[in-house]
Every structure is written in C-alpha cells, then in structure tokens.
C-alpha cells in the first residue's frame, strides 16, 4: 500500500479536528474534535509502524497508550464540563469568560458573560463598547 494514503487521511482528519476545536461552542463538541485529532495521530502511528516493521512494535504500543490516555482525558474532561454546567448552567465555552467565582461577574471586569448570547437574555453593558467585538476576536483566536 502506498504510504501516502494513510498519511494524507490522517492529516485531513487532524485538520478536521482542528476546525472543530476552533469553531465549536459547546464544550462536549470540542472534546469530540479532540478525539478526532487523537485518532488521526493513531492512524499515523499505525501506518508508520506497518511501514518501518519495528521489532519493538513501538508504533502500535504507543497507539494503545494514546487510546488509554484518551479514555482518561475524556473522563476528566466530561467531569469538568459537568461541574461547570452544574455551577453556571451553561457549557458554552464562549460564555465562560472568567476564571473567578460566579459572584464576580457583578463587577465591571466580568462583562464577558453576556458577550455573544444569541438569545439576548443578558444584554451587553452600554459602557463597554468593546464587549461584543472583543468577544468575537477572542473566540476567533
């Protein structure tokens, strides 16, 4: 088999995962995209292990390790997302603007909680003209 096939497929899968991580808003969808990226790396490892015929089977052993670490990562990540959802009522990463306690958003530096809210439930403060623009810029970064 030509080595280009699995290598190109894994590159494209990785870039799909990159797009998902950057463009998705729900934290669980971001975790799914991270899983896609890890799987692209696994495909690369398996393909190069089959090409090199390593006597230690380093590629396949590392693939198994990556799968186990992905399981651990998804467990921890989902626990964190559930905890954030329980504390704040949302799992949209755009709205998680601060690392402070929930009581802190009464202060002027906690303006981001209402930045890109599409329902308009919490309008942006009029004294913060850079609010939605800054939120868009940070979400795109």
């Amino acid at each position: 088999m030509h080595l280009v096939y699995p290598a190109v497929l894994s590159a494209l899968l990785f870039c799909t995962g990159v797009y998902g991580v950057l463009a998705r808003r729900n934290a669980i969808l971001v975790l799914m995209s991270v899983e896609l990226m890890l799987n692209a790396v696994n495909l690369n490892l398996v393909a190069f292990d089959a090409w090199l015929r390593d006597s230690l089977h380093a590629g396949q052993a590392l693939t198994l390790f990556v799968i186990a670490i992905a399981a651990a990562e998804i467990g921890i990540g989902l626990a964190i997302v559930l905890m954030v959802h329980r504390a704040r009522g949302t799992s949209d990463i755009d709205r998680l603007r601060d690392t402070s306690e929930p009581a802190m958003d009464r202060f002027p530096d906690g303006t981001g909680l209402s930045g890109t809210d599409p329902s308009g439930a919490a309008p942006a403060r009029p004294d913060d003209p850079a609010g939605p623009a800054a939120t868009n810029a940070e979400a795109g970064a």
Binding site: M1, H2, L3, V4, Y5, P6, V8, L9, A11, L12, L13, C15, V18, G20, L22, A23, R25, N26, I28, L31, M32, S33, E35, L36, N39, L43, A47, A50, L56, H57, Q60, T63, L64, I67, A68, I69, A70, A71, A72, E73, G75, I76, L78, V81, M83, H85, R86, A87, G89, T90, P102, A103, P118, A121, A122, T135, N136, A139, G140, A141
Partner: protein
C-alpha cells in the same frame, strides 16, 4: 498533476503502480472517504446528538483502516474503547448538560471563518508536505500479520511493561479524579456564601435561573 507525473516516473523504478492501485488501496480509499465525510459532519452538524453518532461512523471507519493496515488488535481495541465507551460517555455528557434535541443555531462560535481558514491552511500545508515526502514509499503488507494479538501482546509485555504499568496508575488516578470532581460536597455547599448552595439534584444553580429570566 505534478504528483501523477512523479508517480508515473517512479513506477518503473519501484515496481508499484501509482495510478493502478491495488485492491487494498481501493478499499482503504473508499473507507477513508467515508471516515473523512463522517468526521466533517461531526464538526459541522448543528444537531449535537447527531455529532456523536457521526463520530461513531468516523471511529468505526478508522477501525477498518487499522484492519487494512494489519493492526488487528488495535482495531478491536478501537471498537471496544472508542465506539464502546468514549462515545457512550460523550452521549451521557450531552444528556447531562441538557443539550437541546434538534437543531441548535448556536452550535458554532463566532470565529468560524477564522477556524475554517486555519484548518484549510493547515490541511494544505500538511498534505503538500506529506505527499512530497512519501510519494515513493510503499508499505509492505504481505507476510504474517504484523499487529496480531499475539505479536502485540508479546511486544507489550516484553518491551513495554514499565510504561504499561505506569499508564494503569495514570488511568486509575484519572478515574479517581473524575469521581472526586463530580461528587457534590454537602458541607461546602452549606457553608459557602452562594456558590453551589442551591445545586440541587437537577444540577441548576439558582443564579442560572435569574440570568435566563
């Protein structure tokens, strides 16, 4: 195309046909198209539960690709762990965070064009580099299976025992950490000023209601 001319030029030297692929390559290509399409749908669909189900298709397709690359044990581990447990965990996560059933208009963030530009640029660069580097490289898939359970198990428990055991400790620590993170602290919830005081079984803090009302 540039690549095709290179392949035709290399065909005589290497004895492999770039433009006349073997059966394994055709199957790999077809399954790869399905996998990539499912992955793209995973990151673009607006229905959150459908994203998880398309992820099942993508991961299953990758398991078939592992089988085609003679890595049987990895393929079954992929089916068991990814399709069997990780996607189920993700579905539980979607359920517990009250993900909307049906189309949700705010599934994508505002930085979507920038994300698309980054992804396309990265894809173009990576594909160009990879095809340029490995256009004359072939995997020899003949002979005994390189990744059967026996071979993988011998390699794993002969050469990779220490990382394997360290990984088991890591997995235990991660799962204990997940349990500690997701349990509710009754004493702290009662003592705190307002944070988590009303975190009832439904998982909604009272502040949430007042923000949404």
């Amino acid at each position: 195309m540039n690549l095709a001319t290179h392949g035709a030029a290399l065909q005589a030297a290497a004895g492999h046909g770039f433009l006349s692929p073997s059966g394994v390559e055709i199957v790999f290509l077809l399954v790869g198209v399905v996998t990539l399409g499912a992955a793209v749908l995973t990151v673009t669909t607006r229905q959150l539960v459908h994203a998880a189900l398309w992820l099942v298709v993508a991961l299953g397709g990758l398991a078939v690709e592992y089988l085609l690359l003679t890595a049987e044990f990895i393929a079954w581990v992929q089916v068991l762990i990814y399709v069997g447990s990780i996607v189920v965990l993700l579905l539980f996560g979607l359920m517990l965070t009250k993900a909307p059933i049906g189309r949700s208009p705010d599934a994508d963030s505002a930085g979507r064009p920038a994300a698309l530009a980054v992804a396309v640029a990265a894809a173009a660069t990576l594909v160009w580099v990879v095809t340029d580097a490995f256009r004359a490289t072939w995997i020899d898939l003949d002979g005994p299976a390189h990744g059967s359970t026996k071979v993988t198990g011998q390699a794993l428990f002969r050469h990779w025992v220490l990382p394997f055991e360290a990984l088991s400790v890591l997995l235990l620590a991660a799962l204990v950490g997940a349990i500690v993170l997701s349990r509710k602290y009754a004493a702290e919830a009662g003592a705190g000023p307002d944070a988590g005081a009303g975190t009832d079984a439904g998982g909604r803090a009272p502040r949430t209601g007042e923000r949404q009302s």
